[in-house]
């Protein structure tokens, strides 16, 4: 049986932190309260995020035109050009998606596939507490450095939407007999209520993605502004700025800790486990 951590333990500069991801940036606070810089988003994550974003802007504008051609330039093949751009953007979108998919397996713990799927009970519990937090049913939150449990679930859905959007998009290309899509995706209309079904789904998904983007951007700004945790800049520069004790506590803050705490059932026992963990480090 070991003793509780001492004040000194907690004031030790690197106490309980996975050394490779955390750098202290501010020594004016007690070490546990001070903000540290955490490198969360690696380059491929940031790159694909912005390529995807750019492609989606283009796809949404050109897609809306295809759906309802509201203007044309006399003498120009306006629709042909718009559809061409839509397809170029579609290919960029797909390329970005392929890279991001690769990174699901090659990236750090914040961008791995496991960050999107509740793989343990703690993660699942966080889905509940996160929902309660959003509904103003609870004030506190489990700490997370990467995606929170709800956001990651949303991203999972969004990734699926992207996939279906890509399938329907290329199925629409295939409807014209364009190979290889006609052969590869000839089955798509039959599972989507026919050719018109494919179009409607493609069209509806655009709206779903736009709705997600509004929520996503809005809350990025909101969270960043209110929490001042560097969320906005993180997707540009890669790092977040978080209180030290938060990093220690966070599910994805230290994988070493995770294996221990995830077995616990409630906040109290989790806190105890954390304390135990800190003690055993000594």
């Amino acid at each position: 049986m070991t003793t509780l951590p001492t004040q000194a333990d907690l004031h030790a500069p690197e106490a309980g932190l996975p050394a490779n991801v955390v750098r202290p940036i501010d020594q004016s606070l007690p070490p546990m309260m001070e903000r540290v810089r955490v490198y969360v988003w690696e380059i491929p994550v940031r790159l694909t995020h912005w390529v995807t974003f750019a492609a989606l802007v283009v796809l949404t504008i050109t897609g809306s035109y295809i759906a309802d051609p509201f203007f044309f330039t006399p003498g120009q093949d306006t629709m042909r050009l718009v559809r061409f751009i839509h397809l170029v953007a579609a290919f960029s979108f797909v390329a970005s998606g392929v890279l991001r998919t690769y990174w699901l397996f090659a990236g750090n713990q914040f961008s791995r596939w496991s960050a999107f799927i509740p793989t343990n009970r703690r993660h699942l519990r966080e889905v509940v507490s996160q929902t309660q937090f959003y509904l103003f049913l609870r004030k506190d939150l489990p700490g997370i450095l990467g995606h929170n449990a709800l956001a990651s679930g949303t991203y999972l859905v969004v990734f699926l939407l992207f996939l279906v959007q890509t399938l329907t998009g290329f199925a629409l290309v295939g409807i014209h007999g364009t190979q290889p899509w006609a052969t590869l995706l000839g089955w798509v209309p039959s599972v989507m209520f026919g050719e018109q079904g494919v179009r409607v789904i493609h069209h509806l998904l655009m709206w779903a993605i736009v709705a997600f983007a509004i929520h996503h951007v809005y809350s990025a700004i909101l969270v960043d502004h209110i929490e001042r945790n560097g969320l906005m800049s993180s997707i540009f520069a890669g790092s977040k700025f978080v209180a030290r004790w938060r990093v220690i506590e966070a599910r994805d803050g230290g994988i070493a800790l995770d294996s221990l705490v995830s077995k616990q059932d409630d906040d109290e026992s989790r806190a105890e486990a954390l304390a135990t963990a800190l003690r055993t480090r000594e």
Binding site: L4, D140, G143, N148, L222, E227, W245, E249
Partner: protein, 390 residues
């Protein structure tokens, strides 16, 4: 059974020259997308063919395909009926009625087992024991099984016989299905359309006479020579589509200039058929040529899938509500925006409260104090700090 002189000699007898006949054969080869070198073979095959018995059944139909058949021009219906086929049963044109009509059908079935063509026009109502269509007191759903099972091939003409068509559309109470569905296992060639283009029927028959085989079909049993390509990709208005030049009101300048009907709901971009090239009524016209969009009448479940006909996309919902994809999408976006806004206000209020708490806490921890995680209430109060939810 005595065999007839072939079509060729019959045509000669009607004063039709060999040149005309070769022209017909060439036209048929073209319809079937055969190389021109096939024309003599088509000619020879058709000329030598005996008259194939046909039993033409009508179920839940409007006789539109029968009328289309009457409009056949290459060969004409007279040539088809008198020289190429032996239409032994066809309620709309046959002389016999009642028991005598029924006897004509039975006679053909027993004289030519597996040697006659069954043509089915109209859908087959299978609900409630087949009471929605009876002929001679028998349920049509039984007759169609009997006749098609014993046939060389079943040709389902029109969309009703293809997949239930109009009677099978949402709201229809009769359990209407297509012939292929009603007679599982039967060899069925589908010629959807409302009605079918008769040129595709004659070409299908000529293909059989020429190659002793039925034309290649797609997964839905539609001959590829007729249903292999998108209308949109064969349309004479396609250049206007590419340009972005669309009709936006009936009878406007754009309509007179033959601009694209996409904005008026044309379903050419989702419909497979050869209407633009085969055209109707001896090649006179087809819907888009005359100014109205295609309604997709060769496609599965077209009454529901392709309607509303004047909107590009179907409405969303179980059936036929007037909610469009855009309305759903805008609703979604509006809803999300509203929720986000409400949430933003809530978060702002919470933030102000917890900021105050945090300030108090900060004052408390400036002097060395117990670690936050050892004190769960303190942790709760400062919980939003470092939160990374997105």
């Amino acid at each position: 059974m005595a065999r007839q002189d072939g079509l060729y000699s019959a045509l000669l007898a009607r004063g039709i020259t060999r040149r005309d006949f070769l022209k017909f054969s060439a036209a048929m080869s073209a319809a079937l997308a055969l190389p021109a070198s096939y024309a003599p073979r088509v000619a020879a095959a058709v000329a030598a063919a005996p008259r194939i018995p046909v039993i033409w059944l009508e179920g839940q139909d409007c006789a539109g395909n029968t009328e289309a058949f009457l409009r056949a021009s290459h060969p004409t219906v007279a040539e088809l009926v008198l020289d190429t086929l032996s239409v032994d049963y066809h309620e709309t044109i046959m002389a016999a009625a009642g028991a005598q009509a029924e006897a004509a059908m039975r006679g053909t079935m027993s004289t030519y087992p597996n040697g006659y063509i069954a043509v089915v026009e109209g859908s087959v109502p299978v609900a409630d024991g087949g009471v929605y269509c009876t002929i001679g007191g028998k349920a049509f759903s039984d007759t169609v099984i009997e006749v098609c099972r014993g046939a060389l091939v079943t040709i389902a003409v029109g969309s009703c016989a293809f997949d239930g068509g109009l009677p099978g559309a949402a709201g229809g109470p009769t359990g209407a299905i297509g012939a292929g569905h009603a007679v599982p296992g039967a060899k069925v060639i589908n010629l959807p359309g409302c009605p079918m283009n008769v040129q595709n029927l004659t070409a299908t028959i000529v293909h059989f006479l020429t190659f002793k085989a039925w034309p290649a079909t797609d997964a839905m049993g539609r001959p590829l020579f007729a249903y292999g390509q998108l209308i949109h990709d064969q349309c004479e208005r396609r250049a206007h589509f590419e340009r972005g030049e669309y009709v936006t009101a009936w009878g406007d300048e754009a309509a007179r200039s033959g601009w694209c009907l996409y904005q008026m709901g044309c379903k050419g971009p989702e419909t497979y058929a050869n209407c633009p090239t085969a055209r109707f009524n001896d090649g006179t016209s087809w819907p888009v040529k005359s100014g109205h969009g295609c309604v997709g009448c060769t496609m599965p479940n077209f009454w529901d899938q392709m309607s509303p006909f004047y909107r590009r996309l179907p409405t969303v919902g179980p059936f036929a509500t007037d909610t469009t994809a855009d309305q759903v999408g805008l609703g979604l976006v509006g809803g999300v925006t509203a929720l986000t806004a409400v949430h933003a206000v809530g978060s702002y209020v919470r933030k102000r409260r917890s900021d105050a708490d945090a300030r108090a806490e900060l004052a408390a921890v400036s002097a060395p104090v117990a670690p936050p995680m050892a004190d769960s209430s303190a942790r709760s109060d400062s919980s939003t700090e470092g939160r990374t939810d997105r």
